[in-house]
C-alpha cells in the first residue's frame, strides 16, 4: 500500500494542508489488519506495560494514559484550576498560581520531560512548561501531584521548554516570542532594535528536584521553538531551533517565512555554567514567583524572586553558535548515541541532519560564515551529516527506537516516516489520521529507547470517532514498531490538546506510587488529627471549622452561630489510613469548588454565607455504604445575632466554654 510518489514540491503545498487529509482517509479502515486487538488488549485486572504522560495543551494539565490500551488513568492538574478536586480553589493550593501578574488560573501546557539519570529515565519527576504566562511545573511521580511551579521572567510564550539534560542538571527553556528586555513601553515596529530572546537554564536539585533559575542567555530577537540537549558524547551542549530570523512583528505567516534558512542555536552550557559561576554575568532586577508545595502540610507557599543573571554571548566567547537550518524549523531531536541532530525545516522539502563530531570540528576550525551580534555562524555544509531527501511534507518531530531508526511526523502529508539515521534511507511510511504534531516512543529521546510502540498525536480529528458537535477530542494513534513496517493498532481520544508526551515502563513508577498520606506526618496547622480535636473557633469575623472525615460521618456535623459577613474556613482532615478512601466536601452556595481530600491530608475551603438559613454540606466522594448519610448542617444567622457558636456530632453541643 505505497502512497503515490511525491511531486510538485513548493511552498504552495502549504495551501494543500487542509485538503490533503482526504487522500489518506480512504485507507483508514483497511490499514488495520491481523491481531491489532490482541496487541492492545489489556485484560480486566491486568496492567498496561507503559505509562504515557501527555501534556494537555490548552487544558493546562497533564494526563496519564496506559499503553498499549490507551486507557486514561488520571488527569493531573498543573497550570489550570481544577474544581474536580479543589486544586486552585482550596486555600492550600491557591499560591501555586501566583505569578508576577497575580493569580493566573490557566495556562497552555506543552512539553513533558521526565527526569533522567545518565541519559535514561529515572521515574522521579516530570516537568512541563506553561506557554502563556511562562512557567515550569514539577510533578512528583510518587503522588502524581504538582509540587512546584517556577515562573520564568522576561520571556513570552515559553514554548522552547523544559528540555532536560542527561542528568537532570538543567531544564533548557527558551522564549518563543522575543520581547523588550526589560519590558518597556516601545513601538512594536521597533522590534529589531528593542526585542530580545532569553534562553533560560533552570537548575534542578538532584536530591529534592527543586527548581531554580540559574542564568539567562540573551539572544537575538528570534522565535526559539524547540530544543534538545546532547547526550553521551554531546552531553554539555544544547541545540535549539529558531524561526522568524526575519524578525517580523506582524503577519508572521508570510513575513517570517521569507528566508531560505533559519538557524539552529548551539549552546555550550558547560561553558555558560563556567561563566555564570565565575561571576561573568550581569545581575538584573526583575520579578518572578517560585511556588512550592510543602508535602507534609500540603500547603503551597510563594516566594517572589527579584534578580536574575544574564549572560551576553557578545561578551562571552565560545558559548553560543548558530548554524543554518532550512526554512522555519520546528523540532530538533538528537539520536540515542548523541551524534546525530535532526533539524527539520517544516517548510522545507528535505531534512537536515547534523553530525555532532562535524559540528565540533567546524567550531574547532573556526569554519564560520559570518556572525549575528557576535555569535559565529557555522558553515552549513561543514556541520552536516547529510540530507534526508523528500521524506514527506511538513516535518515536525522525530523520536528514535534505539536500533538506528528515526521516526518523524509530517503534518502536511499526515504520516509517520521511519528512516535510517546513519544511511539516511527511508524505510517505511504510514498515514496518520490526521496531521500529527508530536510523536512519542517510550524512552524515544533518551540514550536507551524502549521502542515497541509509537504514539502519534494528531491535530485534526474530523470523522475518527462518533461526532460530538463542532468541538472534537484530539486523537492519538498507537503504532506497533517492533517489525520492519509500522503497524497502526489503536486510536484513542485524548484530553485538551496533547503536544508532547513521554512514555516510561510502568515498572519504574508503579512500585513507588503512594497509597495514602501518613496522618502522623501531617503538619497542617489546622489539621485535626483525631475526631476529639474537631472544633470551631472564631477570630473576629473569621470562623475556623476543624472538621474530620471518617467513614461515614463528618465531625462536627452540626454548626450554629455563624453570622452573615463571616468568612468560614472548613479545614477538613481525612482521618482514614487505608488505600483509596478519599472524602470530599461541598457546602451549598460555595462560590469556589469542592474539596477532595486524600487519607491523611487536610484541605481548606473558604465559604462566605450568602443569606441566613440552614445550609447542608456533605461528602462528595462515594466513600462507603453510608456515604449518603455523611452530611451535616451549618446554621447562618443575621449579623449581630445572639445565637451562640456551638458545634458537635450526635448532639454534643460543644461551645467555646465546654471545649476548654
Amino acid at each position: 500500500m505505497m502512497k503515490a510518489p511525491f511531486h510538485v514540491y513548493s511552498v504552495l503545498l502549504l495551501a494543500l494542508a487542509v485538503s490533503l487529509t482526504s487522500c489518506s482517509q480512504q485507507n483508514a479502515t483497511t490499514v488495520l489488519e491481523g491481531n491489532a486487538a490482541e496487541l492492545t488488549y489489556v485484560a480486566p485486572g491486568e496492567y498496561d506495560e507503559f505509562y504515557a504522560f501527555m501534556s494537555g495543551g490548552y487544558s493546562g494539565q497533564i494526563t496519564a494514559y496506559g499503553l498499549p490500551s490507551g486507557r486514561l488513568l488520571k488527569e493531573i492538574p498543573v497550570f489550570s484550576v481544577y474544581p474536580e478536586n479543589g486544586y486552585g480553589f482550596s486555600e492550600e493550593s491557591k499560591p501555586m498560581f501566583n505569578t508576577s501578574y497575580g493569580f493566573v488560573p490557566w495556562d497552555d501546557s506543552h512539553h513533558i520531560e521526565l527526569s533522567q539519570t545518565d541519559g535514561e529515565f529515572d521515574g522521579r519527576w516530570l516537568f512541563v512548561n506553561g506557554n502563556n504566562t511562562p512557567r515550569i511545573a514539577r510533578v512528583d511521580l510518587t503522588t502524581f501531584e504538582t509540587v512546584e511551579i517556577l515562573e520564568i521572567p522576561d520571556v513570552a510564550g515559553l514554548h522552547c521548554a523544559p528540555f532536560i539534560t542527561e542528568n537532570s542538571e538543567y531544564l533548557v527553556s527558551g522564549t518563543r516570542f522575543s520581547v523588550p528586555i526589560p519590558q518597556a513601553d516601545v513601538p512594536i515596529t521597533s522590534f529589531k532594535e528593542n526585542f530580545k530572546g532569553l534562553i533560560n537554564y533552570v537548575a534542578v536539585d538532584q536530591e529534592s528536584g527543586e527548581m531554580s533559575l540559574a542564568f539567562q542567555i540573551e539572544m537575538p530577537g528570534f522565535n526559539y521553538d524547540l530544543a534538545r540537549n546532547g547526550k553521551g558524547k554531546s552531553h554539555g551542549w544544547s541545540f535549539l531551533t529558531t524561526y522568524n530570523s526575519e524578525q517580523a512583528h506582524t503577519l508572521l505567516e508570510v513575513n517570517a517565512s521569507q528566508k531560505d534558512k533559519d538557524l539552529l542555536a548551539i549552546i555550550d552550557w558547560k561553558k555558560a555554567e563556567e561563566y555564570f559561576k565565575a561571576g561573568r554575568g550581569t545581575e538584573r532586577t526583575t520579578s518572578y514567583y517560585h511556588n512550592q508545595l510543602d508535602e507534609s502540610s500540603g500547603i503551597a507557599a510563594s516566594t517572589e524572586m527579584t534578580t536574575t543573571t544574564i549572560l551576553d554571548p557578545a561578551e562571552l566567547p565560545d558559548m553560543v553558535y548558530f548554524i543554518p537550518v532550512p526554512k522555519s524549523p520546528h523540532g530538533c531531536d538528537i539520536d540515542p548515541t548523541g551524534e546525530y541532530i535532526v533539524g527539520n525545516g517544516k517548510l522545507s522539502a528535505d531534512m537536515s541532519i547534523y553530525s555532532f563530531d562535524k559540528l565540533m570540528a567546524t567550531i574547532e576550525a573556526k569554519d564560520f560564515d559570518g556572525d549575528i551580534n557576535g555569535i559565529p555562524i557555522l558553515n552549513y555544509e561543514s556541520g552536516l551529516h547529510g540530507i534526508l531527501k523528500k521524506p514527506g511534507l511538513g516535518p515536525l518531530h522525530t523520536e528514535f527506537d534505539g536500533k538506528g531508526n528515526a521516526y518523524t511526523t509530517f503534518f502536511i502529508s499526515s504520516e509517520v516516516v521511519k528512516w535510517d539515521v546513519e544511511k539516511l534511507e527511508i524505510l517505511d511510511r504510514q498515514s496518520t489520521f490526521y496531521s500529527p504534531g508530536h510523536l512519542t516512543i517510550p524512552g524515544g529521546e533518551t540514550k536507551k529507547p524502549f521502542g515497541k510502540y509509537l504514539v502519534a498525536m494528531n491535530k485534526i480529528t474530523k470523522d475518527r470517532y462518533l461526532p460530538t458537535g463542532p468541538e472534537l477530542a484530539h486523537s492519538a494513534q498507537l503504532f506497533d514498531i517492533t517489525g520492519d513496517k509500522m503497524k497502526l493498532i489503536l486510536d484513542f481520544p485524548t484530553k485538551g490538546e496533547p503536544h508532547y508526551a513521554q512514555a516510561i515502563p510502568a515498572s519504574m513508577i508503579q512500585p513507588n506510587s503512594k497509597k495514602f498520606y501518613a496522618i502522623e506526618e501531617n503538619t497542617h496547622p489546622y489539621a485535626s488529627l483525631g475526631e476529639g480535636q474537631a472544633k470551631v473557633t472564631r477570630e473576629g469575623n473569621q470562623v475556623h471549622v476543624y472538621m474530620t472525615a471518617i467513614r461515614s460521618h463528618l465531625a462536627p456535623d452540626n454548626i450554629e452561630g455563624i453570622q452573615m459577613g463571616d468568612e468560614v474556613y472548613f479545614h477538613l482532615t481525612n482521618l482514614e489510613q487505608d488505600w483509596d478512601v478519599p472524602h470530599g466536601f461541598a457546602v451549598q452556595g460555595a462560590n469556589n469548588a469542592e474539596l477532595l481530600v486524600m487519607p491523611g491530608q487536610t484541605k481548606t475551603l473558604k465559604w462566605e454565607p450568602f443569606r441566613p438559613g440552614v445550609f447542608a454540606f456533605y461528602c462528595t466522594d462515594f466513600c462507603s455504604a453510608l456515604h449518603q448519610e455523611m452530611s451535616g448542617y451549618v446554621r447562618v444567622s443575621p449579623k449581630g445575632s445572639d445565637v451562640e457558636l456551638v458545634w458537635g456530632l450526635n448532639d454534643e453541643n460543644k461551645s467555646a466554654q465546654t471545649s476548654r
Partner: protein, 185 residues
C-alpha cells in the same frame, strides 16, 4: 532443650495467629496479625486495627483497642517465666523436669486458645443496638480455626509461625526428656 527454649522466644519475633478478611474491595485481603504482645497489619497497608474498626462499627462490633486487652500486657511475662522454668528444668536435667515443663506449656496453650475464643465470642456477639446495619440472628464471631463467611467478608483464621515455634519447642522438650538421661529422680 536449649534449642527448644530459643524457639520459644520466637513468639517475640513472629505473629502467633492471623485473621484474614477477604472481600472484593480489599485486594489481597485485610490481614490482622496477632502477636504475643501486639497487633499488626501488612507493611504499608495502614493502621489495620483502625481499618477493621471502621468496618466493624457499621454492624455494631466493639472497637478493638489493644491497650484495653490485658493479655497483650501479661502474656510476654508468661513466656519469660516459662523460659526461666525451662532453664531450671535444664539445670535439673531429669525426665520429670522436662515433662513437667511440657505439661505446664500444654495447659497454658489450651488456656490461651480458650481465652482467644472468649475474646472472639465477645466481639462477635456483643453488638451495639444502635448499629446502622442490623441483621436478625446474625453474629460476627470469626472462626477460631478455619474459614467462614461473615456478610461480605470471607474470614480465615489460622496459626502463624509463632505458634508453630511454641509447638516445636514443646516437642523438643518432650524429646529431651525421652532421650535424655533416663533418671526419674
Amino acid at each position: 532443650m536449649g534449642l527448644g527454649l530459643l524457639l520459644l522466644l520466637g513468639v517475640f519475633l513472629f505473629p502467633i495467629w492471623q485473621i484474614t478478611l477477604e472481600a472484593a474491595q480489599f485486594p489481597g485481603g485485610l490481614r490482622l496479625n496477632i502477636w504475643i504482645n501486639r497487633f499488626s497489619g501488612d507493611e504499608g497497608g495502614g493502621d489495620i486495627i483502625k481499618n477493621i474498626n471502621i468496618l466493624n462499627h457499621y454492624i455494631g462490633m466493639q472497637y478493638i483497642e489493644p491497650d484495653s486487652i490485658p493479655e497483650l500486657q501479661y502474656f510476654p511475662y508468661v513466656i519469660w517465666a516459662m523460659f526461666g522454668l525451662g532453664v531450671v528444668s535444664m539445670v535439673i536435667d531429669r525426665r520429670w523436669a522436662y515433662f513437667t515443663w511440657s505439661g505446664i506449656m500444654i495447659v497454658l496453650c489450651l488456656l490461651g486458645v480458650y481465652d482467644f475464643y472468649l475474646w472472639l465470642y465477645d466481639y462477635g456477639h456483643n453488638l451495639d443496638p444502635m448499629a446502622p446495619i442490623k441483621i436478625e440472628g446474625m453474629v460476627y464471631m470469626p472462626p477460631l480455626f478455619g474459614e467462614k463467611d461473615l456478610l461480605n467478608f470471607y474470614v480465615k483464621s489460622y496459626p502463624r509461625l509463632g505458634t508453630i515455634l511454641v509447638a516445636v519447642s514443646m516437642v523438643l522438650s518432650f524429646v529431651a526428656g525421652w532421650f535424655g538421661k533416663n533418671k526419674l529422680v
